[in-house]
Symmetry: C2
Subunit: 256 residues, 2 copies
């Protein structure tokens, strides 16, 4: 399908189309180098700037990366599993899920994290989910999780101030039994959670915190936990780089 480059389209699109095709067809494989901008310009008979416009399309699509002053290279990807249900249902995974989780435990991955606790003012999105007023003081427990030293996701949990003050949650240290258990011990056992997933391009701050390249979208996962009486007690914001994660849920038609 659409074998030819793209007759009639602007030159920069033809150039992008050409190399997109070579990558899709496998003629150019991950890690391979593209010709230099000048070489492409000569080949297509256009100015170098036009080539740059075309290649920048592929960069924002996440297909290639520029490594100055080496050249442009086809990007290499890997997917990491992200399974929100694991934290709420510590049941044994069904065989079906196991088929998809094999990759995660392969290779000796070394997880680490940096924790930072602070009091912040609720932004409108958090205020709505925690049912407090915008600007109210809440507790933010921010983490950047890394695997093998590479930051892989942002995990910011937020709690209403009145229910967690003076608890271990306020301490910027790892809590072995888990913050959900701490909440439960404080009388706020979570019973239900709602997951909301948005997809968008990252903000400059996220690009910086996660070391993202251009052309990498992120999934933003709001995980709001409720007690049995329907009160929200926790709102966790996960930011997952799109090129490093796969989000997996499991559903059952009949209670399990």
């Amino acid at each position: 399908m659409e074998a030819q480059n793209n007759p009639g389209a602007p030159a920069y699109q033809r150039i992008a189309s050409t190399y997109r095709g070579k990558i899709a067809s496998g003629e150019l494989r991950p890690g391979d180098q593209l010709p230099t901008e000048s070489a492409i310009a000569d080949q297509f008979g256009v100015a170098r700037q036009t080539v740059r416009t075309g290649l920048s399309l592929l960069v924002t699509e996440g297909l290639i990366v520029a490594r100055r002053p080496r050249g442009h290279f086809v990007r290499e990807r890997e997917h990491m599993l992200y399974r929100p249900q694991e934290r709420s249902r510590p049941r044994p995974a069904t065989p079906e899920v196991d088929r998809f989780s094999q990759q995660i435990s392969a290779e000796g991955r070394v997880p680490s994290q940096r924790i930072e606790v602070s009091l912040v003012q609720a932004t409108p999105d958090l205020a709505e989910r925690l049912r407090v007023e915008t600007g109210a003081t809440i507790v933010a427990r921010r983490r950047v999780r890394s695997i093998n030293g590479e930051p892989t996701n942002i995990n910011d949990s937020h709690f209403p101030l009145d229910i967690v003050k003076d608890s271990e949650i306020m301490s910027p240290a790892y809590v072995p039994r888990g913050t959900d258990q701490v909440l439960a011990d404080l009388g706020h056992r979570q019973d239900r959670a709602i997951d909301e997933i948005f997809v968008r391009m990252p903000t400059p701050e996220e690009i910086h915190r996660l070391g993202l390249g251009l052309g990498t979208p992120v999934a933003v996962h709001y995980d709001t936990g409720y007690t049995a009486d329907g009160t929200p007690v926790r709102c966790t914001v996960n930011v997952l780089p799109g090129d490093r994660h796969k989000i997996v849920f499991e559903r059952s038609w009949h209670d399990d």
Copy 2:
């Protein structure tokens, strides 16, 4: 934080940063028009091309759109709810979910869809999920769903050929009782499903089918249904434009 534009950075980044800030702060609101490229160029004392480079950043971030020859405008967003669980659990939504679903039924939205059924060869990703061999013939039931005439998502269901041949699923018409019920009537009642969500930039084909703008990432949702004995009988691929959807799951700690 980082109040000033961005001293020291390249001019095109300062320009992007300036308008990104104005949008974030609310000084520029959705639908508002930015100054013309020439005006910005004059203001910053740079060439128009430099302004274009800067604004193109904001376009790929999905913050602004260009409407030739009117100018650049701050993008207006609306989020449509996407709730994979609805199809498997027709129970009444809990009050917590209702808080988030209010927007969907507001406004008289007119849904429509175009259905197309064909026999295709299984691509590697589908073959793995349906446990058939790559290249095996399977049934593809492709839909583009539209709301108010605007295509909003791609919904391609795939079935192993042997279990659906000669059934209504092969007909390119709407099946009122739903394809899941058809499968159940054929003796393949689904019992479990696995949801996998990937985030990436769209392919040119998806851009065309969904009428996407630049800077719009997509969420790709693989929904694989299994019968009680663990046999996959359906694999649905949903492609959701990131700027139009919010994906919502609900979880319960204790069976409901």
